[in-house]
């Protein structure tokens, strides 16, 4: 059964939606604990963990978002090369993968996806170099735009 690009778009959209739901939940819990600090008094570390969850939530979801995007590219890359075990790193796939109907992908779209990859690397502690701010909405936009350049099926 062929892979359908739409399914990968859907997966990225789901991860992004989960982020916003988790963000709402964490924000509401922080507000509740601020108003009533003994709400989390059963675990001495719970308030520290809540602070960390708040700080790291967006980065965690950007890592997941990029993982879904990378899985889509890998699936396409393997089909194009007829090699189900092929391992190409994300930077190379973003730089080299061609678009639908034999067209290339605009360099600006590739560059924007590479910038999301650098944010992923920083958030996943694969790099110490801070690439600067990029929020999850912008990351989602960039990755979905890149994916939309691929054929509908492969």
């Amino acid at each position: 059964m062929p892979y359908r690009r739409f399914d990968w778009h859907e997966h990225i959209r789901e991860v992004w939606g989960e982020y916003w739901s988790a963000r709402e939940a964490v924000d509401r819990l922080r507000a509740a604990v601020a108003a009533k600090p003994d709400l989390l008094d059963k675990d001495s570390l719970a308030r520290k963990h809540l602070r960390d969850a708040h700080r790291n939530l967006e980065g965690t979801y950007i890592v997941r978002l990029f993982a879904a995007f990378e899985a889509a590219l890998r699936s396409y890359d393997r089909v194009v090369h007829g090699d189900a075990t092929r391992q190409t790193d994300a930077a190379t796939m973003i730089a080299q993968i061609g678009g639908k109907r034999g067209r290339g992908i605009q360099s600006g779209i590739r560059q924007e996806a590479q910038e999301v990859r650098l944010v992923r690397n920083f958030r996943a502690h694969e790099s110490d170099e801070d690439p600067g701010p990029l929020d999850i909405d912008e990351a989602r936009r960039r990755l979905q735009k890149f994916l939309s350049e691929l054929p509908e099926e492969w």
Binding site: I12, R140, S148
Partner: protein
């Protein structure tokens, strides 16, 4: 009696057909896409999604699911290709209703975004799609 998944499929068919019937054909073109939908017991069925286009603005009416807190069904409208959310359509109290944050009136300096819930019918479909298209940055 149809299960929830079958019922959702039928409701989405009805919603998509309503968009196709009611949309202003002098402005918009549409194309169905068979979306693979995974239901709660991991069965897969195909339900229609609908691409809509007016000039350079492309939208997707995307059915999301039936196990939605506070509603019996949800479909979203996204601005493509970035999947920017624009409006949500909930199946509530036996009918589809579209929820949309109308942009502020630039003349009315004190006006803010106003989220409204409207029944899905010809007038609301075209009013909201035209508003999305007018304010979209493709």
């Amino acid at each position: 009696m149809p299960d929830q998944s079958e019922q959702f499929q039928a409701r989405v068919e009805e919603l998509v057909a309503q968009f196709e019937d009611e949309i202003d054909r002098s402005e918009w073109t549409t194309r169905r896409y068979p979306k693979r939908f995974r239901d709660a017991d991991c069965g897969i069925r195909e339900i229609p999604a609908l691409f809509l286009q007016k000039g350079t603005v492309r939208l997707l009416l995307d059915p999301i699911g039936y196990d939605i807190p506070g509603a019996e069904g949800l479909a979203d409208i996204y601005l493509m290709p970035a999947y920017d959310p624009q409006a949500s359509i909930y199946f509530e109290e036996g009918r589809w209703r579209i929820h949309y944050a109308f942009p502020a009136d630039p003349v009315e300096t004190r006006s803010k975004f106003e989220t409204r819930s409207l029944p899905v019918e010809g007038a609301s479909i075209n009013q909201i799609l035209d508003s999305i298209a007018e304010h979209a940055i493709p």
